[in-house]
């Protein structure tokens, strides 16, 4: 079948920068995103739509928290752990934050080594990232179990205060946890491809038949960093506020 995508546009002039560059890139029926592969542009647009989804969650959380007349439960104490004879406030969430940030660090380095065509290091770093992600999900499962079984928090009620706490908590962290879980699966799939050398030999993709390329690692990275990014907002607005 003839490949119709990505014909050589034959641009040779240096493209302008700044505002002129925006006009030049967006006008005249061209490809608007000049130096990014279409997959990366599409991932960015997907992430933009996901931004709005999480924004909606956080916004509705803000609205219910502002409108309740019952005091809001204190996350600092709810998520405390008893370590070494004293209660550490919010320590579980802090550890989860550090784990997710570390996974973002290893992911960024995986992308870097990918573009250097260092197959082994890229695969290893992707696996480390996946391991951090799985640890995060595991800790979240622990946190949920503790809250549901021991503390008796439900989406419709909880012993600490405003009932809306439970619904906001399960919805927001649940949706984020789902993103992390899918990210881990995505990471393992990309790690397998890297390890097998798909990106070195431009092996055709299973579904798309398009040539594999190390850009795939960067696109994967965008998704993973986004998951970390969302956690930054959840950590600040839900746990610390």
């Amino acid at each position: 079948m003839a490949q119709t995508a990505l014909t050589d546009s034959g641009e040779l002039l240096k493209r302008p920068d700044g505002l002129q560059g925006i006009v030049a890139d967006w006008s005249s029926d061209q490809r608007a995103f000049k130096n990014v592969p279409w997959g990366k542009a599409m991932m960015w647009i997907f992430l933009l739509s996901d931004t709005f989804i999480f924004s909606c969650f956080l916004l509705s959380y803000m609205t219910v928290r502002m409108s309740t007349t019952v005091p809001w439960p204190d996350p600092s104490q709810i998520f405390a752990l008893h370590i070494g004879g004293q209660d550490m406030p919010l320590i579980l969430i802090a550890i989860m934050t550090f784990i997710l940030i570390s996974s973002s660090g290893t992911m960024a380095m995986a992308v870097n080594f990918g573009y250097r065509r260092d197959r082994r290091k890229t695969a290893a770093l992707l696996l480390v990232t996946a391991a951090f992600g799985a640890t995060f999900v595991g800790m979240q499962a622990f946190e949920w179990t503790k809250l549901i079984v021991e503390e008796g928090v439900r989406p419709w009620s909880n012993p600490f205060g405003a009932a809306q706490f439970g619904s906001a908590f399960f919805m927001i962290t649940g949706f984020h946890g789902t993103h992390v879980t899918f990210g881990v699966i995505f990471l393992l799939a990309v790690a397998r491809k890297v390890w097998r050398g798909d990106y070195d030999h431009a092996r055709p993709g299973f579904f798309t038949s398009r040539k594999s390329h190390y850009e795939a690692v960067e696109i994967m990275g965008l998704y993973w960093h986004f998951v970390d990014l969302v956690w930054v907002f959840i950590f600040a607005l839900f746990y610390l506020w």
């Binding site: 641009e11 560059g21 130096n35 709005f52 916004l59 803000m62 502002m66 919010l90 190390y214």
Partner: protein
């Protein structure tokens, strides 16, 4: 092919490290910058945790939380997600629309306050 060519034309900020021959492929930056950002993210996260640990209250707490949050988000998007090195056409297409969320924040806050006041009146005078 066309992609690689386009990348070369634009001339990404950082020079090729590994490939040599002046062939730039994708986003290539020295590894040190990632470690540096990683470190800063740890520092900022610790700082925002300490806000809670020392029970900072009121406007100071809220502004500190927001500042640390925005700094962390900025570092992740700019360096880890390579936004710093993209063309403005992509940067604006992705980063401007989320600003509209701020409009929703204002609307949501107004709505929330309204509901809160109505509830106060209702619960005080109700049956």
């Amino acid at each position: 092919m066309a992609q690689v060519q386009a990348q070369e034309e634009v001339g990404l900020a950082a020079p090729a490290e590994a490939g040599g021959k002046g062939h730039v492929e994708g986003q290539q930056h020295p590894i040190g910058i990632y470690l540096q950002i990683w470190g800063w993210l740890f520092v900022l996260s610790t700082a925002s945790y300490l806000v809670d640990y020392f029970n900072v209250e009121g406007y100071l707490r809220w502004s500190l939380i927001l500042i640390f949050m925005l700094l962390k988000a900025g570092l992740i998007v700019a360096v880890f997600m390579h936004m710093l090195w993209e063309r403005l056409a992509l940067i604006y297409a992705i980063l401007v629309p989320p600003l509209l969320v701020l409009v929703f924040v204002v609307i949501g806050a107004l709505e929330g306050d309204h509901t809160f006041l109505t509830r106060l009146i209702f619960f005080q005078t109700g049956p």
